[in-house]
Amino acid sequence: MAPQSGLARQRTRSAWVFLAPMLFVLAAVALYPLLRTIWFGFTDASLTSFGSARFVGIRNYLEWLDYGDGNGEWLGLLVDGRWWSAVWNTVRFTLVSVTLETIFGMVIALVLNQKFPGRAVVRAAVLIPWAIPTVVSAKMWGWMLHDQFGIINDMLMRVGILSAPVAWTASPDTAMAAVMMVDIWKTTPFMALLILAGLQMIPDDIYEAARLDGVGPVRTFRRITLPLVLPAMLVAVVFRALDALRIFDIVYVLTPNSPETRTMSVFARENLFDYDKFAYGSAASTLLFLIIAMITIGFIYATRMDLSGTRE
């Protein structure tokens, strides 16, 4: 690199001055709390006494409890069935919701990409679920899914799909489906918009050429649209997946205390603030962070995201 001119050096210095306040705030609100959370996971901290927490090693994660008679058992997060069922719930929720959101999002994006009268109004209408606060969405659906007075049961019974009302949010068989339903309804617009932005970048003359060559609509979609929109779609999928892995609000509001829908975030918060197992909850938070961090890093490497901006 050529020796920097005085001007460039001055600009570099002011760059750091400009960045300092933001970096300080991020350190105070993200980095330090994260490190403390990880530390609490290795202590015996409780909600009332985290100032005097002592280091206890990996006891919150794994510990051999000896009964003294040659027998014993493993304790800790890594052998806690409730934790692993929360992990499984979260993974299941993420896979199903994100898959369906991608499919529905693609359908809506393809529709919105057509020219028809009133397109602006339709696009605005589609955005409404996204604008509604998650808690409000959960309450609205909780009411619609009500076992006795809910309109969903009424609809399904009117058309003969159900013969008796279903307790959607309370029944162990349907609680997770109810949570997924709300999430899919709420976040499909986000997916649709990101995919639509990708679709709009595809130049019209490619479609024109395909039409002149007599390529059918299905083949056009599979050979032209899908490959070209894939990058935009993948970004949307990853952002949604990272978001789905930390789901909390819908579960907390729609199906409180249901083991079938307890996700990692709900498990961690329960332990932190409801069961007064602050250290145990911190350990769970740490594991959740590790899982999401690994996925994020994998994604950044896989897509070789250009962050320096030099190649533009």
Binding site: F18, I128, F149
Partner: protein
């Protein structure tokens, strides 16, 4: 051929109808329910048949709901203003000044925006207790920086990078200090991007639930999402659905209005940042 094209058109409009209906129906039904009271609520209706505002009246006369709305407005507004102040200069550095470690910094900012909030919850709880902010609205203003700040920096940086280098060259040659360049050259150009990011940050702060549930403990301090989540009756069979729906409609209407008015800006902000609002 003609029949086929008619069928195709019909199928398209049918699909369109289904898409619009599923998007607006739950909100429509919430409004419908909020206008019914007493026993009327428990009869399933598809079309409005009464117009009874008593749920709205009781939302504002019983308890502290009005106060909670003000809490939400205060928190979301201050969060937006503070993150803008911090982000404009920071993104100028990240977008316009080449220096070592810039890519790494940007990567860090981006990864913070993907932070699971639960991962910092216990540490943040300690920080907030230490600063004496527990049960104060400032605890939310402080903690919301974790998602509004990286998002704002990211979008503004992307936006500023696209501006041609000529616009500041003259100012640099004249020896204008960077702060002056930001204020005189970039700020006027940044308004559209700032409106977009500000709106998205506002919506995000308005909707946030986990921190608000954890860091506030009294009813009069709560923000609206927590207030609505915690409305309950004396028993499971006495949940005041009418009141819940009225409160839901009140806190959602301004958002829906914002989204409809600023539709284009919001869409461009979402796609630029690819961050969920």
């Amino acid at each position: 051929m003609k029949v086929q094209s008619y069928l195709r058109k019909a199928a398209f409009y049918l699909l369109l109808g289904v898409i619009v209906l599923q998007a607006v129906f739950p909100f429509y039904y919430a409004i419908l329910t909020s206008l019914e009271s007493g026993q009327a609520i428990f009869d399933v209706n598809y079309l409005p048949h009464v117009f009874d505002l008593s749920n709205y009246k009781s939302a504002f006369t019983n308890g502290v709901f009005g106060h909670q709305i003000l809490n939400s407005i205060f928190v979301a507004t201050v969060v937006v203003v503070l993150s803008m102040l911090l982000a404009v200069t920071a993104s100028y550095s990240l977008a316009r000044i080449p220096f070592k470690g810039r890519a790494l910094l940007l990567l860090t900012v981006l990864s913070v925006s993907m932070f699971p909030q639960i991962a910092v919850l216990s540490g943040l709880f300690e920080v907030i207790r230490m600063m004496g902010l527990f049960n104060s609205l400032w605890s939310l203003i402080f903690s919301y920086m974790i998602f509004t700040l990286p998002f704002t920096v990211w979008v503004l940086t992307t936006f500023m990078r696209k501006l041609p280098s000529e616009i500041e060259e003259a100012a640099i040659m004249d020896g204008a200090p960077p702060l002056v360049i930001v204020r005189r050259v970039f700020l006027p150009l940044l308004w559209p991007a700032m409106v977009t990011t500000g709106l998205l940050a506002f919506i995000h702060a308005w909707n946030e639930f986990l921190f608000a549930l954890t860091f506030l403990s009294t009813d009069s301090q709560r923000t609206v999402p927590v207030a609505i989540a915690l409305i309950s009756g004396r028993s499971e069979f006495e949940i005041p659905w009418g009141n819940i729906m009225a409160a839901s409609v009140i806190v959602t209407l301004p958002l829906v209005a914002l989204v409809l008015i600023f539709q284009r800006k919001i869409v461009s902000g979402l796609t630029a940042g690819a961050v969920k609002g």
